[in-house]
C-alpha cells in the first residue's frame, strides 16, 4: 500500500513535468498597419484559459474571418514556457498568460477583462474584445 501510494505520487509528479508542449508561432510583431491578436499561454491548461481560447477561435472563425484572410488581422499564440518566447513577451510587459491586441505602436492588454468576464459573462468579454479590435 505504502509503495503503491508513493508510486502514485511519483507518477503524478512525473505527469506534471511531461506536459504536452504547445509550439509558439513565429516571434514577430504584426506588420505595419496590421492588427495583432497575441495570446500568451503556458503548457499548463486551465478552465478559464480554455474558455478564452474558445471565444477567440469563434470570433476568428466568425466576425473576423474576412479580416484574417485579408491579412488585416493576425492571430498568434505563444508558449511562455519557451525561453525565447518569454523574452519576446517582455516587450509587452507580459510574464504570464495574457491577451494583447496591438497595432503599430499601440497596444491594449485585455488579460484582466478576459479572466474576469469569460466564465461568468462571456458576452461581455466578447463585446470588449470586438470593441478593442474594431477601434484599431
Amino acid at each position: 500500500m505504502r509503495f503503491f501510494l508513493i508510486g502514485l505520487l511519483v507518477t503524478v509528479l512525473g505527469a506534471c513535468v511531461e506536459q504536452t508542449p504547445v509550439k509558439s508561432d513565429k516571434l514577430v510583431l504584426p506588420e505595419q498597419g496590421q492588427i495583432g491578436l497575441y495570446y500568451f499561454r503556458t503548457s499548463v491548461r486551465c478552465e478559464t484559459c480554455n474558455a478564452i481560447e474558445k471565444i477567440i477561435q469563434d470570433e476568428l472563425a466568425g466576425k473576423y474571418e474576412g479580416d484574417l484572410k485579408s491579412g488585416r488581422l493576425v492571430f498568434r499564440q505563444f508558449n511562455l514556457d519557451e525561453a525565447d518566447c518569454a523574452k519576446f513577451a517582455g516587450q509587452f510587459d507580459v510574464v504570464f498568460k495574457s491577451l494583447v491586441v496591438l497595432k503599430d505602436s499601440q497596444q491594449v492588454n485585455l488579460t484582466e477583462e478576459a479572466f474576469l468576464y469569460v466564465l461568468p459573462k462571456p458576452e461581455k468579454f466578447k463585446a470588449i474584445l470586438e470593441q478593442t479590435i474594431d477601434q484599431f
Binding site: 501510494l5 508513493i6 502514485l8 503524478v12 506534471c16 491548461r45 478552465e47 510574464v95 504570464f96 498568460k97
Partner: protein, 232 residues
Amino acid sequence: MQEFFTNLLDQSSFSLWSAFLLGLLTSLGPCTLTSNLAAVGFIGREGANKKQVLLGGLFYTLGRALSYVLLAVILYFGANALDISGFLARYGEKLLAPLLIFIGIVMLDLLRIPFPSWNWLVNQLEKENQLKAIKPFLLGVVFALAFCSYSGVMYFGLLIPMTLKSPAGLLLPFLFALGTGVVVILSTLLLAFAFDGFSSWLRKVQNLEIWLRRGVALLFILMGVYQLRVIF
C-alpha cells in the same frame, strides 16, 4: 453565482467592497475552490471539537491574509511586480496538485517529513500556547501562495493596482483574503454546528480521529488528482 458577484463588482465604486468581492470571486475559481475544499476537510477532521473547527476556519483565513498582505507590502516597497507575479503564477499552478497529493500522503503516515525541528516547532506551538489552530493557519499561508491563472490575474492584475492607488492600502489585501476565506469560515461554522448535533454519538465511535484523518488525507489526494485533470 460567479455572474452575480461579477455584477456586484462592476457596480462597486468602493474599493474596500471591491477587494472583498474580488476575493469572493477568486474563491469560486477552480484552483482556490479546490484548495478551500481541502482546507474545510482538514479543519473539519477536528469534528467533535466545535471550538477547534471554528477557530480553524478563522485561522486558515488569517493565514491567507498574511500571505496576501506580505506580498502586497513587498510590491508596495518597489519590488518588481512583473517578476514576482510571473514567478508565483507560473509555478503556483504547477505546484498545487502535487502539493495536495503530497499533504494527503503525509497525512496517511506513508511518508515522514524529514524535518524533525519543524515538527517540534509546530508541536510546541500547539502545546505551549494552546495554539491548536497553527496548522490551518500555515495551510492558509501556503495555499494563498499557490496562485494559478485565475487567482493570479485577480490578485496581481486587479487587486494590487487597486491597493497601490487606494488610500485604504493594505486593508484591501486583507479584505481580499477575507473574501477568499469566507466559504471556509461558513463551511466550518456549518460543520461545527452539524457535528454538535451528534457529538455524543461521535464520542462513542472508537478510533474516530484516525478514520477522519484518513478520510481527509484521501480528500487531499482526490482534490490533487482533480486539480491535475483541470490543468491538463
